[in-house]
Amino acid sequence: MAESNVSGRVVGIDLGTTNSLVAYMEGDAPVVIPGVDGSNLVPSVVALDPISAEGGRPTVTVGNSARKSLIQTPERVIYSVKRLMGRGLEEIQDELKMFPFRLADDVEAGEVPRIQLGELRFTPPEISAYVLRQLKRNAERFFGAPVTQAVITVPAYFNDAQRQATKDAGRMAGLEVLRLVNEPTAAALAYGLDRAKAGTIAVYDLGGGTFDISVLKLRDGIFEVQSTNGDTHLGGDDIDNLLLTIALDEIYAEHGVDLRGHPGAVQALRKAAIEAKIRLSTELSASFDIELPNGDRYQREIPRAVFELLIEPVLARTSGPCKQALADAGVTPEEIDEVVLVGGSTRIPAVRQLVDELFHLSARGKKPHIELNPDEVVALGAAVQADILAGASKSTEEMLLLDVTPLSLGIEALGGTVARIIQRNSTIPASATEHFTTGVDGQTNVAIHVVQGERELASDCRSLARFDLKGIPPMSAGMPRIEVRFLIDADGILQVSAREQRSGLAAEIEVKPTYGLTDEQVESMILDSFDHAEEDFAKRLLIESRLEAESILSKVAGAHKSPAWQQLTGEEQAAIRAAQDHLAQVNAGTDMTAIRNATLALDKATQRLAELMMDAAVSSALRGKTMNAAGEELEDAVTAPHPMAAAEFK
């Protein structure tokens, strides 16, 4: 029996389209854990290092460092991969037009798409796993202890396949995903922590790539979601693309330069578009000023009024889901006591204006909640949920989240219509039991097609999986009575079990997920799996050795100016110079042993220099120490941040 790891912290992770964060509960307040660079946000960008390490797998970098490669080597960088999670080839054609995703050329229909990144290919969950692993490492460095359990947030409107893909990514990154929490609900938890009041709240969450609206009822620490709606392909990315398209068109029209074939230039332009968008939230006008490859400049002033006109159609797409969520919850806008704004895109004044109108806020003398940083609030809420699951804290023991399934679950019936078995907005876990029989004498298999969505025809809904009930005892048609139980678990993921009631046999079910990876595939994609572990470890040692080498090199270079240097013989000086040159040379390579040896050689060559420096500086107590040790005691200790989590070293 698998008993979970009862010690160890559970962290909360916001795996975002644009940025990702990891947070934990410190006492009774959730706190975001910063990365090495001190930043709370880890851009959800993954890059392959240009230098391939001697035929081995190239190093993968994540976050700000990966983002820097976007302009130089765009073909080795990927971002916004959340848009592809859990989706089939035919579903992502629209994304491919607007994003520089390069599909591997051998992807076939029905397969999980693979993305070409440099010379390697990755599925979307693998890319997300790299981001998750970075967050895991940031947390491990912060705690100085391993982190193996996490709560990960997903858009409330994510379907079964998108949720499963997120869970798969967690597993690949070496994280046991204790729960998937819906992003708007997580935000409500973060806000609800210090306000134990009752009421109905709406969470409007417009992020980089997804839009969610959730209506919740709060009472005595119970957060009961009444309804949720949204669009998993609507967000700040769409606004960036609008600006980008305009700029590309104008550059072509005015300067005759078509940048569409230049991924690096497009990325530079996208960066400028994002900066302009951000400035327009606080200023009434923003401008583009870009140097084109032919030396011309593209200069463009965008007044806020023009910007608002431009993005109006994008924002308008959030109105329908809001109205539907209110109707499904059975409340009017006036009955919403509070509105919480989540996601970077809610900084745009036009978005706030729209929210104000949708929920009649200023008309009622109310304002939306923006006290918590909209980029961080989801991660903070995930940390609260992680604390609830850990069950060890007074501050969250009274809190309980009751969430709902965003989409109806149905079975394809005769004629291609959908028989709905679990309605949308049902509190999860939720279940339904259906009975099936055979149509032909002696039939031993029954196929069931499960779909998700609100449309009447199965072909208009999203195919979730095909279940093949096997091993039904041969009987005359209509005699077998197969009971199939559909259960949506607390993560919003479907589980199915079946048995034949007349014979009492448990029917065998073969599941063919329409979109998604098999268990075996996920297993083979685990990032730190055995065959990569050794390579990773070697890589870390190499990085350590380089840091060590750089440290002694800089100390020796500094020592050249000390009076002790003049006391050395010419031969001694030459020997040190030679050892310095040699170390500098091997340090540029990737041979860890050579770097180690050259470091030792330089340390040895500088032994007398170190002694002289110590003599000059202080007492005989330090005598006999080498340059390295002397340097550490005389100068400041090495303070360069260690790139790896200490916990991962044995």
Binding site: S4, R219, L389, A390, L400, R420, A430, S431, L487, A490
Partner: protein, 234 residues
């Protein structure tokens, strides 16, 4: 009438082996979570079968039980306890969802009593015309007229034309059918009392009436939905 509690089969607790009735989510002896009990949705809340329920009390009990049984409380428990927490919470949620809604509750109880309520009715009869055979006799003429108007309205919308007369006549029809729905609801409530307080004979009679009322109610709500959708599509 037999109380549900009396019909429960005694089972032994998996943890402490003390026998208990199979209607409890937790062992009364050692408090450990139990596999999903065998009783009906009413018994999950410790209720007898009845139709007139105190919804505030039901919600309170739902929250109380959720706090105890929800998977969040078992995230680091034994594997079997995690599975039972999941199954028990699904049962609790299914029970609450069914009982809190007056129509679902009535339909559920009627089914428990062996009434035939066609599954295929639910949510499928979107297009009024296909179901003319099931139109309540007193509404036949009006429904026919309404369907004509709905069709005209959809045509006008497709052509991008506004027809204020048609619009107001549809709105009027919607109000009328809304009112009819409320009448059905009131009739249902009367039958609830008959059933809750009546003897076996009175209950059988009430059940028959309620099956007919639910059919009418479903038909009306589909009509109203069609009209609302068509009006809203503008």
């Amino acid at each position: 009438m037999l109380k549900v509690l009396d019909s429960a089969v005694p089972v032994a607790c998996w943890s402490c082996a003390v026998a208990h009735n199979d209607v409890t989510l937790f062992c009364p002896h050692c408090s450990k979570i139990q596999p999903p009990p065998g009783g009906d949705y009413f018994s999950v809340f410790g209720l007898e079968q009845r139709l007139d329920l105190d919804l505030a009390a039901l919600e309170h009990e739902f929250h109380r039980l959720s706090r105890k049984v929800h998977p969040d409380r078992f995230a680091r428990a034994l594997e079997n306890e995690r599975q039972w927490s999941l199954a028990d919470t699904a049962l609790l949620n299914d029970a609450y969802r069914t009982l809190k809604d007056p129509l679902h509750r009535t339909e559920y109880l009627l089914k428990l009593q062996g009434a035939e309520i066609g599954e295929e009715h639910a949510g499928k009869d979107r297009k009024g015309q296909e179901n003319l055979s099931r139109v309540p006799a007193d509404l036949l003429e009006e429904v026919f007229e309404l369907n004509m108007q709905l069709e005209e309205m959809r045509m006008a919308q497709k052509a991008g034309e506004a027809d204020p007369d048609l619009q107001s006549s549809l709105e009027q029809a919607k109000r009328k059918f809304d009112g009819l729905q409320q009448e059905v609801d009131q009739d249902l409530r009367k039958q609830w009392q008959m059933w809750d307080e009546g003897d076996a004979v009175a209950r059988k009679k009430a059940e028959k009436t309620m099956v007919a009322l639910l059919d009418r109610r479903r038909y009306l709500s589909n009509l109203v939905r069609d009209v609302t959708e068509t009006l809203g599509a503008e």
